[in-house]
């Protein structure tokens, strides 16, 4: 469903993503793992069409990412990106205006279950509240691909449980979910496949069940093997 071929992005002298070739299939939840600066966010932004690759390409359903793919790919950035004047409801209306697959009803339901009031100004929200709102906004789309960049960043345990629940609800066989996070143990409870990226290069894409059976290691163990003494948060 989502594929990158020889994908490279350079920022001046720094290579953020280096010749990454991989294929991600529908019906799976992928955990994209790697230390800070390993290229996870840059890869996702290229797949979302926000960053132009230096070379290589990203394909969605065998076609290069384009305007059409943006209508089917829901990307959630880790950084807040809303306009300063927006309330939680305004953000929903904005999505409803531009994404045909966005459901305002679903958004309202998710906000209610997350105890977020629609009339609150986004700029007044805590980081945990913004994280929940971003999840509600993104998952209220009926997209084919969901890419969530650090969905658990800076939020407490209870909010994490709600987000995890929302993600698992969105996971259906015809959809692809790609999540990046530093919280490896957290991701192990959600994902069924893992993408390991180091210094912009793809190390491997693994099926977690198969990895546990054949190698006898968990995702966290494999993370430690690959990244050695690199920082493992959470």
């Amino acid at each position: 469903m989502l594929e990158s071929r020889e994908l490279t992005k350079k920022f001046g002298a720094k290579t953020a993503v280096d010749q990454v070739t991989m294929k991600l299939e529908a019906g799976h939840i992928y955990a994209m793992l790697g230390p800070n600066g390993s290229g996870k966010t840059t890869w996702m932004k290229m797949a979302a069409g926000l960053i132009i690759p230096t070379s290589g390409e990203v394909l969605f359903e065998d076609k290069p990412v384009s305007l059409e793919s943006r209508a089917h790919v829901a990307y959630m950035s880790t950084e807040p990106y809303f306009y300063a004047w927006m309330t939680i409801r305004d953000a929903g209306k904005y999505y409803a205006d531009f994404f045909e697959d966005f459901s305002m009803e679903k958004y309202s339901e998710m906000l209610k279950s997350m105890e977020l009031e629609e009339e609150l100004k986004i700029r007044t929200l805590s980081s945990g509240m913004v994280a929940k709102m971003k999840i509600a906004l993104t998952l209220s789309r009926d997209a084919k691909v969901y890419m969530l960049d650090e969905p658990f960043n800076g939020i407490d345990l209870l909010a994490r449980d709600e987000i995890r629940k929302a993600i698992l609800t969105a996971a259906v066989p015809e959809k692809l979910l790609l999540l990046s996070s530093h919280l490896v143990e957290e991701m192990e409870a959600i994902a069924d496949r893992a993408v390991f990226i180091r210094n912009g290069r793809l190390v491997e894409v693994r099926d977690l069940e198969e990895m546990r059976e054949t190698d006898g290691v968990s995702m966290a163990d494999r993370y430690r093997e690959i990244f050695g003494h690199a920082e493992v948060n959470g």
């Binding site: 920022f11 001046g12 932004k45 979302a48 069409g49 926000l50 960053i51 132009i52 305007l67 059409e68 943006r70 209508a71 990307y75 950035s77 950084e79 807040p80 990106y81 809303f82 306009y83 004047w85 904005y94 205006d97 531009f98 994404f99």
Partner: protein, 245 residues
Amino acid sequence: MLRLMKYELRKTLNVKLVLAAVTLIAEAAFLIGYFTRNETLYSLTALLLFMIASTGISVIGLWSLIVLHRDMNTRQGYMLFMTPNSCYRILGAKILECGLSILLAGAFFFLLGFLDVTLVMRLYNENIWQFLAEMLQTLNERLTITPANVLAVLFWLLSSWLCSVITAFLADILATSLLYGKKWNWLVAFALFILLNIGINWVILRVPATMSVVAQFAIQGVIGLAFSALMGYISATVMEKYLSV
């Protein structure tokens, strides 16, 4: 396109509201001065209103440029560029919103100025049309008040403003797209803006001043619009191919 324009208007609304509030306060002070026959007050506020009108339109153009710059250089750009809208539509909406705002603000200030000058003329028992005709002739001896001349000059003014704003858009887009992440890209944008303006003005000034006022201003206006369309197209193409946010 209308939805994009709606959000462009919302992004620039605050500065327009501030401009409207300042104008209203100055106009209220002018009217108080007029009706109390306080010459100092209405003279000063008339001068203030003239300054607000002449800078207000520049502020609208400048603010549209600031919004475009933010959309390309801050995270808020995701809101725009992750939607299924091409850069042609995105930039087209920005240009149309800005152009319409300039047109409406220009018409508003023109009407307000006309009404205020009419009031002052009545105070001195003078004819507004005669006053305007004399004033224009002091500026340019070929300018006389006829509907065709007024329309040609207004068309030229609008075209010039729009052309300036789009030149600034193009300069900023070129600098941001091709010098992504460089802190000094605003300096390059400024230099490009100056150079592009010099080039465009050089072409516009080739229109012979010997032809009629209507023909001269109309041709210059058309050249300005042609440059606007060309630069708008180049800008959107550069964004589509090279812009990373």
